[in-house]
């Protein structure tokens, strides 16, 4: 089986099928990241599509300085930040769509709580937001988070700890 770098090299030489192979290989992880984020299959697929369309252009200049997985994950996190910024404004305008108190539809309530949680995450400072996103959406170990964000492992843990504390305070209020 060819490595990611070998596939990228082939793609840079003009073989589009190499790009397709790369997409198929990483689609489950990328889609999985976004579905945990959005809880919406269509949105998750759109976001995954956006990321890979950007990759199609960006890989032509890929310099092989890092693992493709790391590079892709950074793109996922950036896309998630864009999504959070977009939904922050959408949520502000759609406050009346919260479920009525006393009405219990477990699925809807779960979805709304998840949206409420991500809405709160969007309010975090950017570093904390990125660490929390990677921990929740990808269950990524701190070591890997530190590599992606180019910070120390301890710094990643501290950011996560502060983020959780901030979120708890937000929900308490």
């Amino acid at each position: 089986m060819k490595t990611d770098h070998e596939l990228i090299k082939e793609f840079q030489e003009g073989r589009e099928t190499a790009f397709n192979e790369l997409v198929k290989r990483h689609l489950p992880n990328t889609y999985g990241f976004f579905i945990k984020f959005t809880a919406d299959e269509v949105e998750a697929e759109d976001l995954a599509q956006d990321v890979f369309i950007k990759m199609y252009k960006a890989l032509k200049k890929f310099r092989f300085e890092s693992e493709f997985k790391t590079y892709l994950f950074r793109a996922n996190v950036n896309m998630s930040n864009t999504y959070l910024r977009r939904t922050k404004w959408r949520n502000l305008l759609h406050l009346d769509q919260a479920p009525e108190p006393g009405y219990v539809d477990t699925n809807l309530e779960d979805e709304w709580r998840r949206k409420e949680l991500w809405d709160a995450v969007s309010k975090l400072p950017s570093r904390q937001r990125m660490v929390v996103t990677m921990r929740i959406a990808q269950e990524m170990p701190y070591k890997e988070i530190s590599k992606i964000m180019r910070i120390s492992e301890n710094s990643a843990k501290v950011n996560y700890h502060h983020a959780v504390k901030t979120l708890k305070d937000l929900f308490k209020n």
Partner: protein
């Protein structure tokens, strides 16, 4: 809401990824659509710029000042070529010799500053 429980629920939620081939087909179609949209936008922008520049050049030629039109039609005597100069002199001479009222003709020539002819013909008295 227990944050950690929420995190756990999200992390452990099950999903099934879309089919690779159909995802790729949609991806490449969307990619082509975006390229087409970008090309159309750039073409529209270029056309708009050309029309704007052309429009500006054209409107800058327009003027309400009649002296500009008049001055374009009348070449000063000093820069006429020999042939044209000769023709103008012949024309002025014809006007002087064939006019019903010589004084009116001379006034006209005076107005258009045709001094040479006036001097040459001595006011039509010769």
């Amino acid at each position: 809401m227990k944050i950690e429980k929420q995190f756990q629920d999200i992390s452990q939620s099950q999903f099934s990824a879309p089919d690779g081939d159909s995802f790729l087909e949609k991806l490449h179609n969307e990619r082509q659509r975006r390229i087409g949209k970008k090309v159309s936008f750039l073409n529209g922008l270029s056309a708009g710029i050309i029309v704007a520049v052309f429009g500006l050049i054209t409107t800058s030629q327009l003027t309400d000042d009649p002296t500009i039109f008049a001055s374009n039609d009348l070449t000063p005597l000093e820069i006429m070529d020999n042939e044209t100069e000769e023709f103008v002199y012949e024309l002025a001479e014809y006007l002087v010799e064939n006019s019903d009222d010589i004084w009116e003709t001379l006034t006209f020539l005076d107005e258009i500053e045709f001094e040479t002819v006036v001097t040459m013909n001595n006011g039509g008295l010769e």
